[in-house]
């Protein structure tokens, strides 16, 4: 596979390490009352779609950025690649 890195251009997927679902960005608040339940769902339950999937990859043999890749799990077609940091900010993880 080839991942089109937003800063570096197309790179072989072999340079990257795959982590999993984009939702891993949405870490719950550990001090909240129902944290145990929320963390269970956050850590263990997955949509695991057959189709479009937003997932985290890490450019291990590259610039060490975390990326959110939108890819089809049935065809492996990649639609979009974003810096995870930008995605995280957009999902409200700024201070």
């Amino acid at each position: 596979m080839i991942i089109n890195h937003p800063l570096l251009g197309p790179r072989d997927a072999n340079e990257f390490v795959h982590l999993g679902d984009e939702s891993l960005i949405d870490r719950p608040d550990g001090m909240a009352d129902d944290a145990a339940n929320k963390f269970h769902n956050y850590m263990y339950l997955r949509d695991n779609p057959a189709g479009k999937y937003r997932e985290l990859w890490y450019h291990d043999a590259g610039d060490r950025s975390w990326l959110v890749v939108t890819r089809d799990t049935l065809t492996h077609e990649i639609f979009d690649v974003e810096l995870a940091r930008d995605v995280a900010r957009a999902r409200g993880r700024s201070k």
Binding site: I2, R27, A35, F39, M43, Y58, D60, R64
Partner: protein, 981 residues
């Protein structure tokens, strides 16, 4: 044997004879021959035995689809089983032997299976060999295994080298027949970067094997002219002997180039190169493969594909028989007849099940219409055929054409499904091709020459335009479209004989009908039950035929019955080629510590720690065993001073205004208020609450920390921290960089460590007040070399770690040894390091194995509940903090003379060693020179409240069962006075 079957013409070089042997028989061929064409020229009919019935078999095809002519090539460590004679380029001194027979090729004892064939029908082995139970492994299976398989490996290390490479192009063209060549011309002229690859060693595809006219010149001259033109283009790369074996995601194709397989000796050159080709577009111009017709005893040597008979005559100048008959259901068989006659080959008859002949007359050839071949005879070579009209003909070669199947393989590699085309009676690529892939020529169902030339040109022009190139009006080569009509005639019925479909795996029409009767009717069931198409040729000549016979048996159409798809590779690829150079020493990179050269000079024994090589111990001349060395190193360190290279520990520099806040989230114990100039031990959890890593982190400045991680987790901890930084806390002002490779770091431990270091370090107050336990500082050593000093202890002694930029590491270890000489300083390796940490009760990867919690290692109180750090919430789940969980303990043997081994399990005295009675295990052990006995660290249910208890360490796999005393894990200096002193 002389070349009795050689005829005039062809592309072999008669001025260059080549000597080779087959089954130790000396033979001669010519340059340009394949092993198969040379064998045929020499009249060698019988070349192998079939898989199951050990039937005599001859050469069947003239390409990589060959099911029969598999030989063992070369000898010794170069021995290469299952090599297709039909694609093996002849070289001087080639040796080949036939395979899969006991006794000689001519007299194979295993051919008794042929007589037993009624009892060996499809799936017979699923129905028997069940009783008595013990006989399977001992008797039945060894017999089956030794008679199965084909060729053998030498069992010696493959002596050849394999290389890998990467290529990039706008357009990859797989196949160099008429469509591939016109595509390359069009794309090349338009300026695309083009790669054209062909598995053959001569480019041209079927144009080499058939006589045609293109643009008024012969097809073969047109090929030469076109290749000359392509060679002139700097943007076109031509790869002969290169098989595109697979289509992968995003336009990546796998290719295998055979560099030296056609030479007697590869010399120093790689045998093969595995290319990974990154293409913007790809064109599959792979042509089509001919298939047979199933009739009784259609497997004898001398029965061949008609196109192959034509290829041997036209390309190689070999007549495949003295009396040839042709059995065809389509017009291509008639062209074969014409071409053979023109070359002087004696064609006695053409038999066609159709009623009307496509031609009125071929000189000297009997045209037998509306008939079929219904049986053959000749055990080791064909001698006679019987026809449905009652006629018999004496022939030594029967050329069969059952039609042509487009080579859709590469279109299926991403699970695309081909669709049935009734006109050409074959599967053509469906609409679900891999992204960026196109198909042209016969592979796409354009079965005639004129159409193939046109489609290659047209597709390449479209691609060029699509990629933004301007296509000039390069003219498309023109040729006539020969007749291509076919009757869907698959097999000859009305007999009780076996009629072969899959020649290599011995699948006959009877197996197909039995499979149908037993309910194995889906294509996949058929394939799996009968083994149809599962042989080394992957059913290239048999799949469609099998499917058609199944369709007939079930009364369905072929498309209703199903399709067969193909998986990579297109043709088999040596495992060595996939492995490339990453074998032996180069399997993984080797990492050396900064003191490696020095340690080697000291005669150190090294050990692999991940990719690192670390000094394990430093033997001295009086040491009799490795234990002597380790004991000495430990004792010296504990009584005076020792030094150890700890540069392999992960080191991460953390900088920024929010560095402390960030660390406070990463570590489970508090880090926000670590003072500048102090080190703190940190416990790191995974988000699932399991212990992940531990280490010390030093605060060198308000906004600057240096973290150490374990050697094993250095990369992973860094990755996780980057995840936290970029994804969880994207606006904290913090930056991370791994500096593991930038710093050389040495631990100097023992009561005299302060005295040694004082001689090296510039201007630091080394007193206990001036530089207390857990202090850290930027320093200089040896008059001005920048460095870092940490007062931390893994051994439990007064100890320091000193770090300098890695280029000074070798110099520093030599300075330390020099400075320590008066204290008889000892270097120590990983073994002594391990002994001292076990004595002290420090955990490492042996304990923190990814399964244990902070609770298990008695560090639960390190998880702050006042803050939200990684893993804290999930570390508090009920089962993870339940009273009956395992806890870290120390163990000592009850008998001083007993030795311990890691991996022993704890079992109570008098209990049986069962899963139910399993109370835990021993994770690390050593001989402790301090306690003068074996000690260890382990995990025991409720271990924290069982100190003093005697329990068994049961080690069934090593056959020992001894008593141990449970003690606190902190065995050596539990109060920690030494390290603070």
């Amino acid at each position: 044997m002389s070349q009795l079957f050689r005829i005039n013409g062809g592309l072999t070089d008669r001025s260059k004879p080549i000597n080779f042997t087959f089954n130790n028989k000396q033979m001669v061929g010519y340059e340009g021959d394949t092993l198969a064409s040379a064998l045929l020229a020499n009249g060698q009919r019988l070349v192998g035995r079939s898989f199951k019935y050990h039937r005599p078999r001859g050469i069947f095809s003239a390409g990589s689809e060959e099911p029969n002519a598999l030989v063992q090539l070369r000898t010794g460590a170069h021995q290469e089983p299952n090599t297709r004679a039909t694609v093996t380029e002849l070289f001087d001194g080639l040796t080949a032997t036939s395979q899969n027979h006991r006794g000689s090729l001519g007299f194979d004892f295993m051919s008794v299976t042929d007589l037993l064939s009624p009892f060996l029908s499809a799936g017979f082995y699923y129905k028997t060999f069940m009783w008595p139970k013990a006989f399977w492994e001992k008797i039945y299976e060894p017999i089956i295994r030794s008679s199965a398989g084909l060729g053998s490996l030498s069992m010696l290390e493959d002596p050849d080298k394999y290389d890998k490479g990467f290529l990039h192009c706008d357009l990859l063209i797989a196949g160099s027949g008429p469509s591939g060549l016109t595509a390359a011309l069009a794309a090349g002229h338009a300026g695309l970067r083009v790669i054209i690859a062909d598995e053959d060693y001569v480019l041209g595809g079927r144009l080499l094997e058939e006589d045609h006219n293109i643009d008024g010149i012969s097809g073969q001259d047109w090929v030469l002219q076109t290749l000359a033109e392509l060679t002139e283009m700097s943007n076109v790369r031509i790869l002969p002997r290169t098989t595109i074996y697979g289509a992968y995601d995003h336009g990546i194709y796998g290719a295998l180039e055979r560099k030296t397989d056609h030479l007697a000796d590869s010399g120093d050159k790689p045998r093969q190169v595995l290319w990974r080709i990154y293409s913007k577009r790809a064109m599959i111009c792979g042509g089509a493969t001919e298939r047979s017709i199933a009739f009784a005893n259609n497997d004898r040597p001398g029965i061949m594909l008609a196109g192959a008979v034509r290829a041997y005559a036209t390309r190689y100048g070999v007549a495949t028989g003295n009396k040839v008959a042709i059995f065809t259901n389509n017009d291509s068989g008639w062209q074969t007849a014409l071409e053979l006659v023109a070359k002087g080959v004696n064609v006695v008859a053409i038999i066609d099940p159709r009623d009307t002949a496509p031609r009125t007359h071929i000189s000297g050839v009997a045209m037998i219409m509306g008939a079929s071949v219904c049986n053959t005879s000749g055990r080791k070579a064909l001698s006679r055929i019987a026809l449905s009209n009652g006629q018999t003909l004496n022939v030594d070669c029967l050329a069969v054409s059952g039609g042509w199947s487009p080579n859709v393989h590469l279109t299926c590699h991403q699970r695309g499904r081909p669709v049935w085309n009734d006109t050409i009676a074959g599967f053509v690529p469906g609409g679900d091709l891999p992204v960026g892939q196109f198909v042209a020529g016969a592979a796409n169902g354009d079965m005639t020459l004129g159409a193939a030339l046109k489609s290659g040109h047209k597709t390449a022009t479209l691609i060029a335009k699509d990629l933004g190139f301007t296509t000039n009006s390069s003219k498309v080569a023109k040729a006539d479209d020969e007749n291509f009509a076919i009757k869907q005639f698959w097999h000859v019925t009305g007999h009780k004989q076996r009629a072969w479909i899959d020649l290599q795996n011995d699948v006959t029409t009877k197996d197909i009908t039995q499979s149908q009767a037993e309910g194995f009717r889906s294509v996949e069931h058929l394939k799996r039950y009968t083994t149809l198409g599962m042989a080394t040729d992957q059913g290239k000549t048999s799949n469609v035929l099998g499917l058609a016979v199944m369709a007939e048996a079930t009364g369905k159409t072929i498309p209703e019955t199903g399709t067969t798809i193909f998986r990579p590779p297109y043709s088999p690829v040596a495992i060595g080629a996939f492995g490339g150079r990453e074998r032996g020493q180069h399997f993984h990179p080797t990492r050396l510590t900064p003191s490696h050269k020095w340690a080697k000079e000291q005669g150190a024994e090294f050990v692999e720690v991940g990719n690192w090589m670390r000094a394990q111990w430093f033997p001295k001349s009086n040491d009799k065993t490795w234990r002597d060395s380790v004991d000495r190193e430990v004792k010296k360190t504990r009584t005076s001073v020792g030094v150890c290279d700890v540069s392999t520990l992960g080191k991460i520099d953390i900088k920024g205004r929010d560095a402390a806040e960030f660390l406070n989230k990463i570590y489970s114990n508090p880090f926000a208020k670590v003072p500048v100039g102090r080190v703190r031990y940190g416990l790191m959890l995974r988000e699932d609450g399991i212990c992940y890593d531990d280490g010390t982190t030093a605060r060198l400045a308000e906004d600057h920390f240096v973290m150490t991680t374990t050697t094993a987790n250095a990369v992973l901890v860094y990755r996780n921290m980057e995840f936290a930084r970029q994804c969880l806390f994207p606006d904290l002002d913090v930056h991370l960089i791994s500096t593991t490779d930038q710093w050389a770091q040495f631990a100097i431990a023992g009561p005299n460590s302060r005295a040694v270091l004082s001689k090296i370090i510039d201007k630091v107050d080394m007193s206990n007040d001036g530089f207390p336990f857990m202090a850290c500082s930027n320093i200089t050593v040896c008059d001005g070399t920048p460095g870092r000093l940490f007062r931390i202890s893994f051994s439990g002694e007064l100890a320091y770690e000193v770090a300098v930029p890695v280029r000074y590491g070798d110099a520093l270890i030599r300075e330390i040894i020099k400075a320590g000489k008066e204290f008889d300083i000892t270097p120590y390796g990983t073994e002594a390091l391990g002994v001292m940490r076990i004595e002290k009760g420090h955990v490492t990867g042996a304990e923190l194995n990814g399964q244990v919690t902070a609770f298990n290692v008695n560090m639960n109180n390190m998880i702050s509940i006042k803050k939200d750090s990684i893993g804290s919430v999930l570390s508090r789940r009920e089962m993870m903090i339940a009273d009956d969980q395992i806890r870290l303990v120390g163990v000592k043997t009850v008998e001083l003379s007993d030795s311990l081994a890691s991996g022993a399990h704890f079992v109570a005295k008098g209990e049986k060693p069962t899963t139910k009675n399993d109370q835990g295990w021993i994770a690390s052990v050593c001989y402790s020179p301090h306690f003068e006995q074996h000690i260890g660290l382990g995990f025991l249910e409720r271990g924290h409240e069982r100190h003093g208890e005697i329990i068994r360490a049961w080690d069934g796999v090593r056959g020992t069962d001894i008593l141990v005393e449970i003690v606190s894990a902190h065995m050596y200096d539990p109060e920690g006075g030494l390290q603070r002193g």
